[in-house]
Symmetry: C2
Subunit: 340 residues, 2 copies
Amino acid sequence: MKIILDAMGGDLAPKATVLGAVEAVKELGAQVVLVGRGDLILAELQRVGYSTLPTGIEILDAPDVVDMHDAPETVVKQRKDSSMIVGLRALAEGQGDAFISAGSTGALLTAATLIVKRIRGIRRAALSPTIPCQGGQFVLIDCGANAECTPEFLLQFAFMGSFYAKKFLEIRKPRVALLNNGVEDSKGTDLQKQTYPLLQQADRDGHIHFIGNIEAREVMTGGCDVLVTDGFSGNVFLKCVEGTAKFFSGELKSIFTSSLGSKIGALLCMKGVNGLKKKMDYRETGGTLFLGISKPVIKAHGSSDERAVFCAIRQAMQAVTSGVTNEIAANIDAMRAVKE
Amino acid sequence: MKIILDAMGGDLAPKATVLGAVEAVKELGAQVVLVGRGDLILAELQRVGYSTLPTGIEILDAPDVVDMHDAPETVVKQRKDSSMIVGLRALAEGQGDAFISAGSTGALLTAATLIVKRIRGIRRAALSPTIPCQGGQFVLIDCGANAECTPEFLLQFAFMGSFYAKKFLEIRKPRVALLNNGVEDSKGTDLQKQTYPLLQQADRDGHIHFIGNIEAREVMTGGCDVLVTDGFSGNVFLKCVEGTAKFFSGELKSIFTSSLGSKIGALLCMKGVNGLKKKMDYRETGGTLFLGISKPVIKAHGSSDERAVFCAIRQAMQAVTSGVTNEIAANIDAMRAVKE
């Protein structure tokens, strides 16, 4: 299996991408194609002691880089020699099995849609991170790719999220819920009201296990395995979890350092605190799969370090072997909203 | 000043409401009108040693109670003898200065709008809780009263939230921000895109201090004083903070109780942990003011205990003396979206 990696994407590239790739080749037996400026990639490899290309690593030269300020819709044309675009083209042409980039999310989504294409019948690709919650984790779909959605988009998100939870979280019958401002089926805006019966029907037809509307509070306490929502609310949700977690970490830090006694107290609790830190660490997940694209494309966190890149490669390999893309394609007929 | 209190609203009524009122009369010099079943209210008073009505407490008899399952739009007609409706009518007729209920939010908002009425020119009343964040707290408006909003609603929320932050949080120049999925002014759905220039104009005209779009993460780390959003996203935001806080409390609890060492550690950090608990305790705020109604109406938390009722009465008194309602009414001309 061959993973194509944008060696230039992300705040810590190319150092983090090159080192993460080397580690993945060693530990996971991955084959990695590093896309980017060959001279910079070779220099990073030399810095860690490789005078020639290590086995399992290839370089695909791309002189340009997508900038965070590039408008997503312009990169395919105006940055055609960038590591992101060259890498996506290599994926589309079958030079590898999956593509990873820590570059601009918007640019990656737009370019993946144009170059690698969506699975036939899928209206929109979605961003679907897994988020820790009480008792485990859940899949959030969509978390920002599509600010405005139709009920049919959400129906497709429900299917794709459910397949993903089965394959990646190993949940036999994922509980799919619709994010809403109350649990009654009359709640929400027109979008939620119209999506609800579609999800009910998909449940009756045996395609997904729809448990109804859910409020954000119950999600974090483990109320569902797949949280379906439009990209705007999903983005608010994800960033609110991150912000609240950051707020709590800050508060805890000041509690633990406020006096000599509390410093000793902190030492005594260190093991548990580190466990929680690890649970909340985005690096361990790797990245976020774009569900709905015809081949696995993964967005790694913009500030990915070597460990995060390693985990993203592991996740990409899992995406390939899981066959989640094929499962979506095979079920596409059930994922259409019947027109009234 | 006279505060009208729905003695029957909330999970712990009438015990919590009666005891909270008795405490507020003692501590704050409030006058409280308890609305509800006289026999039950008197029984609660007797239980704590009052054989006659204490000074400062009145009873307004209402034989019926609004049920949590009543459809909001039906309560004014079908529950006209309920404590909520009788209380709101008393407020409208000038028998008191503010009304508090821990009953159904939807019913209270609908009934307050129909009976007490909105301030002339205000399109929608909004729910505006204050939420703790790094370095202090901020006002969230709207958090669920209006799932679907127009840009003009949001413009009015920005004004009302700003006045509220000035009066209640004592911030001279509150930083008003629009909740969005990115900071660029092109971000969001049509609602955010159309609201942005209205808020910019209000800033240029010197009415509010608009600092632009904000992502949910930055809100929790203290990025704004007033967070403007539609009721759907606001509800997701609020409940996500609550859920994440609950998740963290659970994690901390298991860290602190996992071993003898960590138990000792927890004891050494107890002071700080209790401080954080108090900061996150909704009871200390009291309730949520409905901004835009012509007289102060406060929704107390459904599970309000005696302390929460006491704080809600304190908040109601503050709402009356602050003159926030008058300030909204005086500025209504600046709060209209100019039609293109």
